[in-house]
């Protein structure tokens, strides 16, 4: 999914560029082919469901928020434009915008409270919202005529958004679909898209990299609601009859998700593939099996769904991806070189080489005072205070369960402290949340159990970090490349992070956090689980990071790493600080020896 050179005209003779254009032209010609309303309707429906599924996929696929209530927006769009037209003669084109506006308001109303919910609960909440709207539409007969429904008198004319032939409808639906497709494509390759996918893969990791997860989800929902509402108006103008049961239907919400899943969740073209396959299939299955006996076609439909969910989790698009590349290779022009961003040599930005000890300032760079945290009856952190100077490396050690990661979570906005202060560069940041705020203050962190964004390549993972301070994709890519070089993962640039070894994943996590340009970096057990050689290598990387002038606060178990790297070490036991000093001092400290002595201590 690399964005090909912005100069499309330079690359137009390469199949990667011209083939998709060719497909678009094919689709544009399609409505003119059948000369028969029955088949034209299948085409209209395919385009229209394609557009709807794309809109849903923005929220459900990209952002990973399973909405089963999109029918709410569909119905609002349908009813708003229809009522405005019937009562005030307002052109449905304008009514469509009004409906979209209303849907956006509803989306904000739903999104803000509901995005806090975990996936299953979010899905259930959205179902309930769709149902409530249906009841309201059915009950409020004064407004909607209730179950009687609304019929739009047939007065063809472009100002009325009504046409005698189905062909204009097909073109409108196609345009809608293409607009949505372009939007999805642009988003996918933009900062916003990276944010969405990262928060889908791991919300905590995303937050730590400066992603405003709530705002991103809401933005996705707003865009999605807007387009779904427009398709609702389209439906009303196409069928010319709406009632609460057809436009506020749980079935519609489920269908949209279905198209996206079967097509390929979270991909750009997946929903279209799903819609194009299933819409005609439904018509033909019904014609073929529905007549034979009631319900047989739905049984087939249900089985297809179950099989797809179990065996084809990537959907059709996963399968298509496999042969698309080789297929393109066979087309003329594939030998040409693609002018991509990679072809432009990245300019080397020199690393900031600073001597940490020289730049130490007098006032504390990072200060924690009397930090406390209790979980129920368990005191996790008791009255912990310490300071850090700019440029130093502070190691944090202690037995399992001492509270080390808890301290990290307390100062990075993941858990609120019960009491205490956290001051960074003179600014009080105690209890600041959500975590993305911490990142924006230039504090970064890694996690004890690495959280790579599995569906992204190594390069893309780091790009998410770069996006914390860069807006443009090609800039982020350039910087990410550099960082990959710096941490030694350049060779794995295009590998999916899920395919990397543990050691490389840890490096990746380092690189990712580094990309956010932190001044203080908290590393949680970066060395754990590595073999001696890997440990050596990562120690070198950490040293290189320190030489860039970044202050490091490190939790570690492995004594070799602690001793080699840290300027100072702090020891935690049962949530309390029991010792602090240089590594040598600590190793001789009686209390520390009593509490524990690390696993592999090498003098």
């Amino acid at each position: 999914m690399r964005l090909i050179s912005r100069n499309i005209s330079e690359n137009v003779l390469h199949p990667r560029i011209y083939f998709p254009f060719f497909l678009v032209v094919l689709m544009a010609v399609l409505p003119l082919v059948p000369q028969n309303p029955f088949y034209e309707d299948i085409i209209v429906s395919s385009f229209f469901y394609g557009a709807m599924a794309l809109a849903w996929n923005l929220v459900g696929g990209f952002a990973g928020q399973i909405s089963l209530g999109h029918t709410a927006f569909f119905g609002i769009g349908a009813y708003t434009s229809t009522l405005l037209y019937l009562h005030y003669g307002l052109s449905p084109w304008l009514g469509m915008l009004a409906g979209a506006g209303l849907s956006v308001l509803v989306a904000i109303g739903i999104g803000i409270p509901c995005f806090r919910l975990k996936s299953h609960f979010f899905a259930l909440a959205t179902i309930a919202i769709g149902e409530v709207l249906r009841f309201l539409a059915s009950y409020w007969r004064g407004l909607t005529q209730g179950g009687v429904g609304l019929l739009i008198p047939f007065k063809p004319g472009i100002e009325n958004f009504m046409f005698k032939s189905k062909v204009p409808y097909a073109y409108i639906a196609l345009s809608l679909m293409l607009v949505m497709l372009i939007i999805c494509y642009v988003i996918r390759n933009s900062r916003f898209g990276f944010h969405l996918i990262s928060l889908r893969e791991d919300q905590d990791a995303a937050e730590s990299l400066g992603v405003r997860t709530s705002r991103s989800k809401l933005t996705a929902l707003i865009i999605s609601a807007l387009f779904t509402s427009i398709t609702g108006t389209f439906y009303a103008q196409y069928i010319l009859f709406i009632d609460p049961f057809t436009v506020f239907s749980l079935g519609i919400s489920i269908e949209l998700a279905l198209f996206a899943i079967i097509g390929g969740l979270g991909t750009v073209t997946g929903p279209i593939l799903g819609a194009f396959l299933l819409t005609p299939l439904d018509v033909f299955l019904r014609a073929w099996l529905g007549g034979v006996s009631a319900g047989l076609n739905f049984i087939v439909y249900g089985l297809v769904l179950m099989v797809a969910v179990k065996y084809f989790p990537l959907g059709i698009s996963g399968w298509v991806r496999k042969w698309y590349g080789p297929f393109l290779q066979k087309l003329p022009g594939s030998q040409r070189a693609l002018k991509t961003e990679e072809a432009m040599a990245p300019s080397m930005v020199p690393a900031k080489a600073l001597d940490p000890r020289k730049d130490r300032e007098k006032s504390p760079f990072f200060e924690v005072g009397s930090l406390n945290k209790r979980f129920g009856g368990l005191v996790a952190v008791r009255d912990v205070s310490f300071q850090m100077q700019k440029g130093e490396i502070l190691g944090l050690i202690g037995p399992n369960g001492a509270g080390k990661t808890t301290i990290f979570n307390l100062v990075t906005g993941f858990i609120p402290p019960d009491s205490g202060q956290v001051v960074f560069q003179g600014e009080t940041i105690t209890g600041l949340k959500p975590p993305h705020q911490i990142c924006l203050k230039h504090i970064g962190r890694t996690f004890q159990l690495v959280k790579p964004f599995k569906d992204m390549t190594a390069l893309e993972n780091v790009m998410v970090g770069s996006f914390a301070h860069l807006k443009k994709t090609h800039e982020a890519r350039r910087e990410a490349m550099e960082i990959l070089n710096f941490i030694g993962l350049a060779g794995h640039r295009d590998s999916l992070s899920s395919s990397l070894t543990i050691a490389n994943r840890k490096r990746l996590e380092l690189g990712r956090a580094l990309a956010t340009q932190p001044e203080l970096l908290l590393l949680d057990e970066v060395v754990a689980g590595l073999n001696p050689k890997e440990t050596e290598e990562i120690i070198k990387v950490i040293q290189a990071i320190s030489q860039r002038g970044i202050t490091l606060f490190m939790i570690a178990h492995v004594m070799k790493a602690v001793m080699t790297l840290s300027h100072r070490v702090m020891v935690l036991h049962h949530g309390e600080k029991i010792a602090e000093g240089t590594p040598l001092e600590i190793s001789k400290d009686r209390r520390v020896i009593e509490a524990y002595l690390g696993e592999e201590y090498l003098a």
């Binding site: 309930a128 309201l136 047989l296």
Partner: protein
């Protein structure tokens, strides 16, 4: 006015008892496996058909056929879990939802194909029986359903507290990894939990057939209610689902009378949304 209020409370409790009964199985499944089982309603439908046919063909009273249905549906639950649920336990939630949606479609339409869309009900001697006390009217079959719900929950609670399997289930519900480390056979326990949950739904179906009717899509009427009850009660609390069910029943009875029969379902959906927003762990659930 007084007696109307009392009657509304009674109506609500009896209706709620039915809701609770349907939801117990779902609480167990949802709480332990964290699966949103959209086919839950279809199990109810199948149980109702089973009770119906046992009555039609062999004259077995539904309250009695429950003894057959409980073990039968336990086995059905295990089978379904193995074939459809087990493989997707670690899949993304969306895939889990859609596996059960697909299952629901298959079951509903298979029922349509085999038994047609006809509505069927069972007419027993006590079908329309109403008890009258102090000017209040209590429907007998609904009372039985109510008492059964309580009994079933009590039995389940004892099972979960006292037996090894029960404790295993509770452990699993709380912390999957730890349970694994403790040597609990996770997969077998999941199967048993799903089996028990399905058996509960089976009992609910047998209880329901004298009061209501069965047709292929009856499940979809009840599945959403069941979810509302489960979430309201606290998705890992059995007592919660009882209280949640009763509460929903009473709310429905009162809002149907004072606001409108048309909006009563919408009202409890709104409550559902509010609970999800402000107390997602429900009334009795633990975080």
């Amino acid at each position: 006015m007084d007696i109307t209020i009392l009657q509304l409370i009674i109506n609500g409790l009896l209706l709620g008892g039915m809701y609770a009964l349907i939801s117990i199985g779902l609480t167990l499944i949802f709480g332990v496996l964290e699966i949103v089982n959209f086919a839950h309603g279809e199990f109810l439908m199948l149980a109702m058909y089973a009770a119906y046919w046992l009555f039609q063909l062999y004259g077995i009273d539904p309250y009695v056929s429950m003894l057959i249905i409980l073990p039968l549906f336990f086995l059905v639950g295990i089978a379904v879990q193995r074939v459809t649920i087990q493989p997707i336990l670690n899949a993304p939630p969306l895939n889990q939802i859609f596996m059960t949606v697909g299952l629901s479609m298959v079951l509903q339409n298979a029922a349509l194909f085999i038994w047609t869309a006809d509505y069927r009900t069972v007419k027993t001697t006590y079908s329309g029986l109403t008890l009258k006390t102090a000017g209040l009217l209590i429907s007998f079959p609904r009372l039985v359903a109510f008492l059964l719900a309580m009994g079933l929950i009590a039995a389940l609670l004892i099972f979960l507290q006292k037996t090894y399997t029960g404790k295993a289930i509770r452990a699993l519900a709380q912390e999957r990894k730890a349970a694994l480390l403790m040597g609990i056979d996770v997969y077998r326990t999941y199967q048993i939990a799903f089996g028990i949950g399905t058996a509960c739904v089976g009992a609910a179906g047998a209880m329901l057939i004298p009061v209501f009717f069965v047709f292929p899509s009856v499940g979809s009427l009840f599945v959403l209610i069941a979810f509302v009850v489960v979430v309201l009660g606290g998705y890992n609390s059995l007592t919660g689902s009882l209280v949640g069910g009763l509460l929903i029943g009473v709310v429905e009875a009162f809002s149907g009378f004072f606001i409108s029969p048309h909006l009563k379902e919408a009202i409890y959906f709104v409550i559902f949304i509010l609970i999800l927003l402000f107390k997602p762990t429900g009334l009795f659930g633990r975080a």
